[in-house]
């Protein structure tokens, strides 16, 4: 259709120099008469009429130029639309890929966290139970000499031993601190003392036992450091 149009306009342009657009239109009608393309022919006829009309009004700029511009405009707009859609697709694809990657990372991290949760939970509960061990230690240390062999003191000792064994079976170990070189990864220094009998930066006293659970420190030793 557009071809025909273009042909016509081409002819029209040529024809204008020779004759009037009206004559051109009439001639073209004769040429393109095809029985199976009546609708197109009619449309074409209408277009020609319109073209003829506007050409009548617009003597300088021919129907051809206007049509040309109209087509160019349509094509440009179509191209712009397509580009807009392409951009949209690119943006959505990018966002989708990002979300997928983020999801993948999240999934991996959650899996790791899930397998760590047991260890975290145990660590958390143990940390809360440790003060009981502290009390046992302090209590037993405070028993006066004359009561040390008494039933209560002995009983306490047995219970404390059972407690220690239970902890050790779980994987909890006390941190050996006294006399060892101070290590901030295992010890928490709360006091400082000058003592010539000890080396430099050595743990002078273990004020509160520290404990490890498997490989991690669940409570640091509270220590007094010398020099």
């Amino acid at each position: 259709m557009s071809e025909k149009h273009v042909k016509k306009t081409a002819d029209g342009t040529e024809e204008i120099t020779v004759g009037t657009p009206e004559e051109t239109a009439a001639e073209d009608l004769k040429e393109t008469e095809s029985p199976d393309d009546t609708a197109a022919k009619n449309k074409a006829a209408e277009d020609n009429k319109k073209g003829a009309d506007s050409a009548k009004e617009d003597e300088k700029s021919g129907k051809s130029e206007k049509a040309d511009a109209a087509i160019k405009d349509l094509v440009e707009r179509a191209k712009l639309e397509a580009k807009k859609k392409d951009d949209q697709i690119a943006d959505l694809t990018d966002r989708y890929k990002r979300t997928l990657a983020e999801y993948e990372n999240f999934r991996k991290r959650t899996e790791k966290e899930k397998s760590d949760i047991y260890a975290y939970a145990v660590k958390d509960v143990l940390t809360k139970i440790l003060p009981v061990a502290d009390s046992f230690e302090r209590g037993l240390a405070a028993v006066p000499d004359d009561e040390k062999d008494g039933a209560v003191a002995k009983g306490m000792e047995k219970i404390y031993k059972q407690f220690q064994k239970t902890l050790s079976d779980i994987g909890v170990k006390p941190i050996e601190a006294e006399g060892k070189p101070f290590d901030p990864n295992y010890h928490n220094a709360v006091m400082h003392v000058e003592d010539d009998s000890l080396g430099e930066n050595v743990v002078a006293k273990d004020l509160q036992k520290g404990y490890t659970y498997k490989d991690t420190v669940i409570r640091h030793s509270m220590v007094q450091v010398a020099n």
Binding site: R98, E102, N105, F106, K108, R109, Y120, P131, S135, R138, G139, A141, A142, P144, F182, P184, N185, H187, N188, A189, V190, M191, H192, E200, N201, L207, Q208, T216, H220, M222, Q224, V225
Partner: protein, 279 residues
């Protein structure tokens, strides 16, 4: 594309978080804690410690342990530690580096961009110093945001109706109060005040002093003279502060071993501020 991390570079403690699926998530450090002490230390063996390990050896190595460096940001005051001299930005950068490393370990990818918060009363020099610290740590600091503003944003208050809000920030070392106005999605800090030397530690001390006083009254013994007992009191005081409501510090916490089996008990009530004066 790398993720941007959000950092609260505090006077006493720092915190780092990241947005995941539109929700902020605080990142635990290499020790498993959600906040990292803003402490840097240089050991006698030339090792550099940042965070919890640095805090744990502060008592034995006070001369080479640096805390509260935020108070010096924006000044040209240098600190000497481990035989060298550092600017506040360089020390802050060491803290930021640790936070960056912890974030990268958590995310499993490199981190290059960050947003850092500062107090609303920070001046240009202090803000620039914070940005510089980020740069030294290898971070492109996209924004410096005011702390109370960040708090308001975290609660989504910029999406609610226009309102005026008071933000109380009681931190480890400072108490900052800000009055902010929210209107048309814009947050503006109208006024700031507070106490730059009031923080959690002061509360611990007040409770500890109360306990010492109480024991003195009941048993006639001044525990402040006994370093070991004092240490345990400090720990118990901090624990009591953290637990809300009435707290019992039983004889289990103190003294059977040091004070001949005497038993002692102190009660710290949440509303008992008349007995626990802070200032």
């Amino acid at each position: 594309m790398s993720k941007i991390i959000g950092i609260d570079l505090g006077t006493t403690n720092s915190c780092v978080a990241v947005m995941e699926g539109g929700q902020p998530t605080v990142i635990a450090n290499s020790e498993g804690a959600r906040t990292t002490p803003s402490v840097v230390a240089f050991t006698k063996t030339g090792e550099r410690l940042v965070g919890e390990p640095a805090k744990r050896q502060a008592v034995t190595n006070a001369a080479n342990t640096i805390s509260s460096i935020k108070r010096k940001m924006g000044t040209s005051e240098k600190v000497t530690a481990g035989g060298k001299s550092y600017t506040p930005q360089e020390i802050s950068a060491m803290i930021l580096q640790k936070l960056k490393a912890d974030a990268e370990a958590y995310l499993g990818e490199k981190v290059t961009e960050a947003v850092i918060t500062v107090p609303a009363y920070f001046n240009d020099a202090q803000r620039q110093a914070t940005k510089d610290a980020g740069r030294i740590a290898g971070l492109d600091v996209k924004r410096i945001i005011n702390e109370p503003t960040a708090a308001a944003l975290a609660y989504g208050l910029d999406n609610e109706k226009d309102q005026t809000i008071m933000v109380y920030d009681l931190g480890g070392g400072t108490f900052d109060v800000s009055l902010i106005e929210i209107g048309d999605g814009v947050i503006e800090v109208k006024a700031v005040n507070g106490d730059a030397h009031l923080g959690g530690d002061d509360f611990d001390n007040a409770i500890a002093n109360y306990m010492i006083q109480d024991f003195k009254n009941k048993e006639g013994v001044d525990l402040s003279k006994d370093n070991m007992a004092l240490q345990r009191i400090k720990e118990a005081a901090e624990k009591a502060k953290k637990e809300e409501g009435a707290v019992y510090c039983d004889n289990d916490e103190h003294q059977p071993s040091v004070h001949h089996g005497s038993q002692w008990r102190a009660e710290t009530f949440r509303h008992g501020s008349d007995t626990c004066k802070v200032r």
